[in-house]
C-alpha cells in the first residue's frame, strides 16, 4: 500500500512547499516542511489514504503559498543595518574581484589573498540556503582556480611557441604541425572562459537577488 508521503499529490505539494519555503531562513524552512510531513503521516493514521481522502487533506491544509506566508513574520525582518545581506554582497564581490585580479597575472598574488578572504566570508554567509551556498562554492569560489588553470594552459602554449622562436637552429622541432595542440588551445580556453564567466554573472545575480534588495544590485539592472 502506498503511504501518504509517497502519493504523487502529496509529493507535488511538498515540492511546491519546499520551493516556497526557500524564501524563509533555512532552519525555519526545514522545520516547516518537517511539520507538514508529520501532518501527512499523522493523517494517514487518523484518516484514510484514498485519493479523495488525500484531496480533502490537501484542501484543508491550504496552498503551500498560504502556509509559507503564515510563516513570514508579521513585520518582515528588515535588519536595521542590513548587516547580513551586506556580507553576502561582499562575498560575491570579493570572489569576482579576486578572479579578475588573478587574470591580470601581475596582480595574481593580491587576487589569491582576496580570494581567500572571500572564501572565509562565504563560510560565514548565513542567508543562503544549502543549494544557494553550493552554487556559490561551485561557480563563484571556483573562479580563481579555474582562472589559474586557464592561465597555465595559455602559458604552456605560449612557452611552446617561444621555444620555436630562437635563431631557428632547431627548425625541425619548430614545425607548426609538429606542435599540434597549440594553435587552438588558447581559443578553446578563451571560449570556455567566456562561457564560465557568463554562468558566473547569472549565478551571482541570482544569489544577490536571493538576499534581497540590499545586495549591490548588478550594474545595468537598476540604473534607470
Amino acid at each position: 500500500m502506498m503511504t501518504n508521503l509517497e502519493h504523487p499529490l502529496v509529493q507535488d505539494y511538498l515540492a511546491r512547499l519546499r520551493a516556497q519555503a526557500a524564501a524563509l531562513p533555512e532552519g525555519e524552512a526545514r522545520e516547516l516542511v518537517a511539520d507538514i510531513e508529520e501532518h501527512f503521516v499523522a493523517a494517514e493514521r487518523e484518516g484514510g489514504t484514498s485519493e479523495a481522502d488525500i484531496r480533502t487533506l490537501l484542501d484543508r491544509l491550504g496552498t503551500p503559498e498560504s502556509v509559507v506566508a503564515a510563516a513570514a513574520p508579521p513585520a518582515p525582518p528588515a535588519p536595521a543595518g542590513s548587516g547580513i545581506p551586506r556580507r553576502e554582497g561582499m562575498t560575491v564581490m570579493l570572489l569576482i574581484v579576486a578572479e579578475v585580479l588573478v587574470l591580470t597575472v601581475l596582480l595574481a598574488p593580491i587576487g589569491i589573498i582576496v580570494w581567500l578572504v572571500g572564501l572565509v566570508m562565504l563560510v560565514l554567509c548565513r542567508r543562503w540556503n544549502t543549494a544557494q551556498r553550493a552554487q556559490a562554492w561551485v561557480v563563484l569560489a571556483s573562479g580563481v582556480p579555474v582562472a589559474l588553470l586557464a592561465l597555465a594552459a595559455i602559458g604552456m602554449t605560449a612557452y611552446t611557441d617561444m621555444s620555436c622562436a630562437p635563431d631557428g637552429s632547431n627548425a625541425a622541432t619548430c614545425d607548426p604541425t609538429a606542435s599540434a595542440p597549440p594553435a587552438w588551445v588558447p581559443w578553446l580556453v578563451g571560449l570556455l572562459g567566456i562561457g564560465f564567466g557568463l554562468l558566473q554573472v547569472v549565478i551571482a545575480r541570482r544569489l544577490l537577488a536571493a538576499v534581497g534588495e540590499h545586495g549591490p544590485a548588478p550594474k545595468g539592472l537598476r540604473m534607470r
Binding site: L32, I36, E38, H39, A43, G62, V67, A70, P73
Partner: protein, 115 residues
C-alpha cells in the same frame, strides 16, 4: 503589573487572537500537534490547517509553548505541545483583556443597533 500585562495583551489581541486560542487549547494539558490543528480548523478559526504550524513554531520560539517527542504505538514519534509558565501567563493576560474588549465592542454594537 497585571494592568500592564493586560494592556500588552490587548495590543496583541488585534493581530493575534489565534495564537491565544492555541494557548487556550493547551490549558488543560499537552496536545498532539495534529489534533490541535484539527480542532482549530473545525472551530473555524483558521483558513488552512497548514498555517497553524508556523504559528506553533513561533509560539515555541517565544517560549510560550514547549514541545516533547513521545513514542507512539504505531508509526514514528509524535510531537506534543504544552504551555510554559510564560504561556500560561500570556493566556491569563489575554483572558482579562478579551473580556474587556468584548464588552466594549458589544456596548458599541448594541448602541448602534438601538439608535
Amino acid at each position: 503589573m497585571a494592568a500592564e500585562g493586560e494592556g500588552k495583551a490587548l495590543t496583541q489581541l488585534r493581530r493575534g487572537a489565534l495564537e491565544h486560542c492555541v494557548l487556550a487549547l493547551l490549558d488543560d494539558g499537552e496536545r498532539y500537534g495534529y489534533d490541535l490543528v484539527g480542532e482549530l480548523s473545525e472551530a473555524g478559526l483558521v483558513a488552512g490547517e497548514g498555517t497553524v504550524y508556523p504559528l506553533l513554531s513561533r509560539l515555541r520560539k517565544d517560549a510560550l509553548v514547549t514541545t516533547t517527542w513521545r513514542e507512539s504505538e504505531s508509526g514514528p514519534p509524535r510531537r506534543y505541545y504544552s504551555l510554559t509558565p510564560a504561556g500560561r501567563q500570556a493566556l491569563g493576560d489575554f483572558r482579562g483583556a478579551w473580556g474587556e474588549f468584548k464588552s466594549a465592542v458589544d456596548r458599541l454594537l448594541d448602541g448602534k443597533a438601538r439608535s
